[in-house]
Symmetry: D2
Subunit: 313 residues, 4 copies
């Protein structure tokens, strides 16, 4: 792209307020259920979602082969790229894989990438800088800090270094609003990565918005929370936020969307459904907001035998 | 294999005292340097190492494609399988990938696998049980707990459940000797995953031995520490142990073996060498034990420009 | 897609007259040169080409990994899919690979696939029917018969069987115009796969058009040959057609486009440039039509040392 | 390996008389059936077979992913490498893939590779030389000429050029005994690739032996034909040879081994079983030599519904 076009893309992407880390639905054989995916995405767009993370941790990118991951990005660009920003989670703990996937993602038209620090393998500060600069050179990117998953916090000085890269869009920060406030006070663009903190992140800590899990279920309400301060609605969702993270995400989300009839009840291992007791609690919470769940004509507590677990696909 | 043979394999593997998480050396283009690898492994065998983790976190399995990972396991079995136990790190945070790699590893003759819990993606207890039982069904396995990398501790009750599987060899436990003592008191076989605690783990906490990083450098000394209590030698190595983990492993090990002249100074990103100051400190520590570093004819502080960083290979 | 939309797509695709089996240009490291590719495609569109075969034998799909092949299809759809029909060569001699690639190609928006019979491995008539029906079920497809490459002619009775499939678009037939005439007389849609016979195929043997190699170089002239009978122009191109196939395609085409300055002179092995003598002959032929080669500002006989041969990429 | 060892390996491999292009048996899900494979190989060894082509066209290497292909080579080396020469079919029509697979095959211990010319894509003489020299540099190799599959005969002058490479073991030649006689008269080592001509190839045309399909079924008889002239036995097998190639190999072989009860009746598409009539004819021929089919306790004409066809695995 010409530099001016890249510049305007970067500026536009930096202002996205509601980005959904979109669920990847599966067929019974464990392959992608593209019609169900398209229906999910269409409803997201209708309800005001401005961007998608494709194959994020919520979308289970770590359970995809790279060819199906890039295919899903390409599919999303082709079907919806003129209506919503498509951000591919092409990060990896291997710099080689991150570079290859990011390059492919941009080649098929994604607007930006999401870049994680090297989880599990970890590296030194010098290694972090090397890794992030390499992937930022490929195109616009959001950098993702979630030490509860990666085993390694991205230190402030690394963030303050890479934020000057012309392709840096901002941080997806999961360590809380004080950290976000500190970053935004220094001019570092931020999205909250925690739904329960996102209202305050946006309205008091300077975050531009949220990269949300909950918006898979109630996109319109999340859109409202980002559009204007609304402490009452935010408070009313507290239990739902909490339930959606009662087990490592996306276990509850997967269970929720199945119980809402919006995706087939298929889990790629190592994810398995919530327990019966957790499902009952969730069904009650979902029923309470059912009118805000687009496409949902009823919430049902499902039985163990209805879920399909796929270990090989 | 017939059940009796599997049984005797399991019994033999449970008694390995010194297992090295072996370094994977690279050529300048980032591909495996098999002659250097073979030399490393031969010296390990000469100095009393009884088992190898191939493609562990130390061996940078997370930076390998699966085809080169399985190839390295097969190569090791073919070249050394009659002299040393070959344990392939065929775990993954994707159950599908773990099953496929583990199946392939056993097909090419590895003796056991190393199985991590699903890092980064994480899962529920029910998901952990599902994952571990699936991979244990493939053959003998050591289960690896390292929450500082995975972002999720494997809970005691999960360990006490899966330890009754006939293919369970024991835990590689990195959370300290009190935990190990608790496990071994309940009959759960354990290896220490921390070199600095391994002497005490073996001689006072009931661990059978260690899965060691340091033994890449000084296999004979580590063999001695496992063979009999030797508090003096253990104390003398304290600084070396500490230096080897001054940055996320295997950064210091990679730097050390290059400075000892045992591998080419090639790093796959996101790993980069230690800083000049760290290298100087390490060179002094290594020189002090040089007579115990097999194959080493001199330790040299290397310069930045001598190292090769590979982002695409 | 809804059935009516598929129907109209099929009807539209059946009428394409000039389809280019587009060249894939490379960077010096052997990766795709997407800017050069985009320039080529843009010029094709300007000169009236109506469809592209992406990753055909001309585009060296057999030298691509599937992930880069599907990526190139997705890229083409995203960048040009509203202006030209994108036909991915997602066939394979392995039914599994053909199904997987074809499924992915349609998921990223390609309009149709090109399907070869199982070359090299070959199979029985019953196997051919099984293979073609499987891939035709995935979406609209052109079936490609080129026994000089595959080692096995697709028999007439197999063609007459599969042509009734609702996704069958027609044959790309390379065995000559009498065969095409026989097929079209029976209502089987056909494209000529031989540039030198394509004028007559279209105007006397009932073919709808051509899938062309030569149109990479002179798209406007080939468009003219398809638009209306023009025996004089056709005759004038005889030597150029002949030269373009003096070695197995795309050796001459690759050499030609490099000598015209339209692609970097990079060859993926086992392809190597034409000899110096062949290049001289070609340069003369190309110079004679230079005004019809879009983007070409001069034809130059290149030297051996200017070409880059890539064995590993 | 040291040069002297390579030299002696090459000399030994050049003298192999009976090499089987071994069948790959499958489970019902299309994955490898390793126990059935091991049983087949064990019987081959018992009956005097001296070498194996692993994943040849008979073994359906073209229907394998490379990771399973290299895994099968590694498995064979590990289980049988001290009793039989293991020759991996690591050739490809892509030089890059051939180099990668050949390198991996040697890394896991295979003794030699089988190298095809670039089928389907084809190339010029200069390209052939470039391709063959690249793969011969990796280690000992047999070069395979089968224009009926590849669409391109390897010209005599190319053979006479590459035969001087120190890793060249000989030709697997399928174009008939006059060609073999010409080659052997010039000192080019040859194996016949046609079972029906192999007796004469060895005893009158100078071939060292055969790379055989039929020896999967009757290894002892084929061993006899190679050991000493035996025109009567050779004549008696004429109909069986003919039947085994009544459809593109390995269709009849797959059907035969299933009807002999030696492999599960599973076909990877595009292969499908012979027709009922062909099966009846084959069953009669197989019954006539049943005492020479190791492991076979009865031949049975199977029904259509008993066969499993696998399109995705």
């Amino acid at each position: 792209l010409p530099a001016s076009e890249t510049r305007s893309t970067v500026d536009r992407l930096k202002k996205l307020r509601l980005i959904t880390a979109v669920k990847t639905p599966y067929l019974a054989n464990g392959k992608f259920d593209l019609p169900a995916y398209d229906a999910l995405v269409s409803r997201q767009i209708e309800k005001g979602v401005e961007g998608l993370i494709v194959g994020g941790t919520t979308g289970e990118g770590h359970l995809m082969s790279w060819d199906e991951h890039v295919m899903l990005i390409a599919h999303t660009v082709n079907a919806f790229g003129d209506k919503i920003a498509v951000i591919g989670n092409t990060g990896s703990n291997s710099t080689r894989e991150a570079l290859h996937a990011t390059e492919q993602g941009f080649a098929v038209g994604m607007h930006a990438s999401l870049q994680i620090n090297p989880y599990y393998g970890k590296t030194s500060k010098a290694g972090l800088l090397n890794h992030f600069n390499a992937v930022l050179n490929e195109g616009p990117a959001i950098v993702y800090n979630v030490p509860g998953r990666t085993g390694q916090d991205i230190p402030d000085d690394v963030v303050l270094d890479i934020c000057s890269h012309s392709n840096f869009l901002g941080m997806k920060e999961c360590t809380g609003n004080p950290r976000i406030k500190n970053y935004t006070s220094k001019g570092v663009n931020c999205w909250s990565g925690n739904d329960d903190e996102s209202h305050d992140a946006r309205h008091t800590a300077g975050a531009v918005g949220v990269i949300s899990v909950t918006s898979n279920v109630i996109p319109g309400l999340m859109h409202g929370l980002m559009a204007a301060p609304d402490a009452a609605t935010n408070a009313s969702l507290k239990e739902l936020f909490s339930w959606l993270f009662c087990e490592p995400n996306p276990i509850a989300l997967n269970t929720a969307l199945a119980m809402c009839g919006l995706v087939r009840p298929v889990f790629r291992l190592p994810y398995v459904p919530l327990s019966r007791a957790q499902r009952e609690k969730g069904a009650a919470l979902l029923t309470a907001v059912q009118e805000h769940i687009p496409g949902c004509t009823g919430v049902r507590v499902m039985e163990d035998h209805e879920f399909i677990l796929v270990g090989r696909h």
